[in-house]
Symmetry: C2
Subunit: 76 residues, 2 copies
Amino acid sequence: MKLRIYVTLKPGVLDPQGKAIEHALSGLGFSGVDSARVGKLIELEVADGTADADVDAMCRQLLANTVIENYRIERA
Amino acid sequence: MKLRIYVTLKPGVLDPQGKAIEHALSGLGFSGVDSARVGKLIELEVADGTADADVDAMCRQLLANTVIENYRIERA
């Protein structure tokens, strides 16, 4: 079973990587980019029948830092 | 207008970060994780009416390394 986990910074948390992208795009001549935020996309191949609770535990214990990041799990 | 850009490593490209996640999950007692691949999720807020060709150019010139990465653009 394939899972996709999207890890994004919580609103209000500074994102220097996103800021760098904003400036670089503007430097390359792309105007109209108001904001850029960078997150992670983790694709996991897990055994069929892996419980939702287990996947949630993986995110909380390892994949996301829940102090500053949100995560969303999608079954592909 | 909000855009989401998913940047993933092409199949066959080594992903040490993904391997580290695999081993760490197995070390934490989560069995059945066959593979993990890590990509980037870039959320852009751009002016309404930004052309698809411009967004594609942003990806090719800055956001993705097309030698080793694929990208997918999603309008949110």
